[in-house]
Amino acid sequence: MIKPEEIKSIVATDCGSTTTKAILIEKKEDGYRLIVRGEAPTTVEAPFEDVTRGVLNAVTEVEELANKEILDGENFIKPYKDKNHGIDIYISTSSAGGGLQMMVAGVVKTMTAESAARAALGAGAIVMDTIASNDGRQMHEKIERIRTLRPDMILLSGGVDGGTISHVAELSEIIAAADPKPRFGSTYKLPVIFAGNKDAREIVKNNLGEKTDLFIVENLRPVLERENLKPARDKIHDLFMEHVMAQAPGYKKLMSWTDVSIMPTPGAVGLLIEKIAKKNGIEVLGVDIGGATTDVFSVFQEIFNRTVSANLGMSYSISNVMASSGIKNIMRWIPFHMDEKEVRNRIKNKMIRPTTIPQTIEDLQLEQAIAREALRLALEQHKTMAVSLKGVQQERTISDTFNQTQSGATLVNMETLNMIVGSGGVLSHAPRRVQSAFMMIDAFLPEGFTMLTVDSIFMMPQLGVLSQVHEQAATEVFDKDCLIRLGTCIAPIGNAKKYGSSCITVSFNGNTKEVKYGEMALIPLGVGEKMKIKVKPEKNFDMGEGNGKEVTKEVEGGVVGLIIDARGRRPFTLPEDNKLRVEKLTEWNKVLGTYPEIK
């Protein structure tokens, strides 16, 4: 393959379950930039049953928009000749055909089984079920479960090196008895990855070697104190392409076109988030809210985690958001009075006709109320998976007595979080950017200083796979063309007894502004603009340095500006009284300019 420094032109596609998106990136005077983007319906299902049709259609749209010849029939013109002819590399991600669906198994539910789930999620899989020796189910129930779910792949872990063998043997017997058949076609055996106790390898081989396509990698939990997820994650990526996607229509051809392996879409997004956090030395929370699922990615304390909430989304799964959060939690965000019956019917009508879009402000506000709950629930689920390793004996000193960190505590810390990246239709395509900012603030409740951003046109997957080939190109495009900075959210932690009490005073460029408890404020500060701001919280509020302690910080603006959220944290609550609730929501929306005035 061409050397990275010689790459001038790149085409990257993401084959989603409904749309295939193509982008063209080229080297310009100011570095690598996005040139154009095209899209076309994905063609994995009947009548086409060939994913490459959709890819060619999307790339053809790119050709037309960029006025450039990229394809010669079904071949990419390589290498780059001039600005109107040819590209250097073609890469792709894919989540078509339902993505990668896995089952994982481990000995102890909260230890090796949880590590296995983290490895599978990190690789971009949907974890259909986690089987553990101590999960409370009978052996035959586990066998039935594996058989009915028909996963694409199974990750079997269990036992630290030198630990239990019999439990691992039992798990492999369960898998063997289930004799699972893969989802696509019956001509190949189900891939099983064993990443457990190295002393159990022979037994696992005996039990599964014949019945499944068995791969053995390093133990993902060699000792209790340490996870080693990378070998298992890498193997999942390899097998995803070779064994799972290769069975889907057209993928063999697509694989022959790409210059590096096709990655599962969420795996690629995760890779990008991980790299961004590392490069800038920051803590990042990323979220991609789709029609059916919501993915959450995070890097806290330099540890990457990803979860997918398989049934939280804004179209196919919209009704499940209501079922999971409860109708009351959705209704609390609606800034006007609407009958519960009407809310229910509108949500269900969106469920049965998921491609419709809100036409009225009222309908938009309802949809954004639901999005808040979907995002909130997805983060809740993420918090339970992004945890420090459980089962680890911690040595404590006297000083720890006052600062105990439990094993198994969540890594997610909204106070130390530096940046939130939002993507997915409801966030990327909100008519006003401030709507996205407000949705993320209400759902995630950031604390202290947090930069809010959105992925403008959802090209993180393509940039993720690009980062494997050309990290510089990926980060340049990410910074300049992909990420839209909305602005910094400033939110003190704490509460006062009643709305209108003093909360914080901010000083900047010779101005002083007091924001009372229960209020929000917007200070203009544009994209790329930075300024020093002094924030003085009242004695029961904390900006990160302790109650009442003043903090001075350089903050960055964005298309929205600086948002000051003095509505309280830990806990954040909305008024119980319905009339007051609507009044406050209306006031906040007015301050931020969230919605146009209804005539």
Binding site: S17, P41, Q138, Y316, K341, P358, P596
Partner: protein, 374 residues
């Protein structure tokens, strides 16, 4: 996007309908191509592997797992009857023997020398599938099932609950926009597929179940009534497996909504004829909608319209509006401007102009209509 795709619900009196009838796993097809089948006729059958049971032999015998094999009386693959001896210890001079009997009739699936567990399997369970509609077998899917073809009326709903059912069509609503009550449900409704109007509430639905109606086709229903009827909130729209004693097909949506006039008239005109209905709905890639099928073998081939939804929206097409503020209204497309336009929410979207039945002209996002397919 290449083009906005707006598949509508199919409502046709003269359709050719194909139904695939497939076993959940391979088995035997019992009909031939060309066979005339009735809805209740079995077309394919198979047996699914029985459930498994596990038995901790080592634990029960009080021996280590690797020693289990010395005490076994059965081999892997062997068939056993309930209470057959499957393992026993020698005991002490023939006394104090521990005997383990098979808890089931079935076969021995596996015996592990590492965990000491035995896995037994129940005998296979037979499964049969029927033709679902009266028609002809047009294709055999080897070892898996058949395709049955029929001619007649085909009406798709938007959402349903409950699975396949059959019954005589009976109209109980006066008109497409009227609302039925409990009093409209009588013992005459037993075994029938009831055609209601714009709305049904949970009480009336329960009454229909209590008199033994097979199904109800209605314009709209409140979500909270569905919740009360089912006992839970529907999360993801995958239905069809509910066992509530009735199949419900909603043609328009949630809330009180007049059934499309044509749908109501077509269904009413078949009163007394037997319909095959299915409430199964899946709103995912590869969408599945509930349906009413009324076979009519007297239709001539030249009258038939093949059901095809691949054409886009054109000026003059009849459409149904499927989102507030005009939800449920029906009209004709009068303009399809290609440019993006700003709507009330400030989103820039592709729009169209529709002339409503009352003469009003409105513009709305193209995503918010569906084609009424003939």
């Amino acid at each position: 996007m290449a083009h906005a795709f707006t598949p509508g619900l199919k409502v046709s009196e003269k359709a050719v309908i194909y139904k695939e009838r497939r076993l959940p796993l391979k088995g035997e097809v019992v009909v031939k191509i060309g066979d005339k089948v009735k809805a209740d006729d079995i077309v394919a059958k198979t047996a699914i592997p029985g459930d498994v049971e596990t038995l901790n032999i080592a634990g029960r015998l009080g021996v280590s797992p690797e020693d289990v094999k010395e005490f076994l009386k059965v081999k892997v693959g062997q068939e056993v009857n309930k209470d057959d001896v499957i393992a026993e210890t020698n005991g002490f001079f023939g006394l104090f023997k521990t005997v383990i009997k098979s808890p089931i009739t079935g076969s021995i699936e596996n015996i592990s020398g590492i965990t000491g567990q035995m896995i037994l399997r129940h005998p296979p369970k037979p499964i049969e599938i029927d033709a679902y509609i009266d028609g002809y077998v047009t294709e055999i899917i080897e070892n898996e099932g058949v395709k049955v073809q029929t001619k007649g009326t085909f009406v798709q709903g938007i959402f349903g609950i409950g699975g396949e059912a059959r019954g005589e069509i009976m109209r109980i609503a006066k008109s497409n926009d009227s609302v039925i009550t409990e009093n409209d449900i009588t013992s005459n409704c037993k075994g029938k597929v009831l055609i209601a109007g714009a709305f049904i509430d949970v009480k009336t639905l329960r009454k229909a179940v209590s008199v033994g109606a097979k199904g109800i086709v209605v314009g709209g229903i409140d979500d909270r009534d569905i919740k009360e009827f089912l006992g839970y909130d529907i999360g993801v729209a995958i239905t069809g497996s509910e066992k509530k004693g009735i199949t419900l097909i909603v043609t328009e949506g949630f809330g009180q909504m007049s059934m499309a006039k044509r749908t109501f008239e077509i269904l009413s005109s078949h009163e007394g004829e037997v319909a095959s209905i299915n409430g199964a709905t899946q709103i995912r890639a590869g969408v599945l909608r509930p349906e009413v099928i009324i076979p009519n073998f007297n239709l001539k081939d030249e009258d038939l319209s093949s059901v095809d939804s691949s054409s886009g929206i054109k000026v003059g097409h009849n459409v149904r509006i499927i989102r507030a503020p005009y939800f449920g209204l029906i009209g004709k497309v009068t303009k399809l401007p290609p440019e993006l336009e700003k709507i009330e929410t400030e989103a820039k979207v592709r729009i169209l102009e529709v002339e409503l039945n009352d003469g009003r002209k409105i513009t709305l996002p193209r995503a918010n209509i569906e084609l009424i397919e003939e």
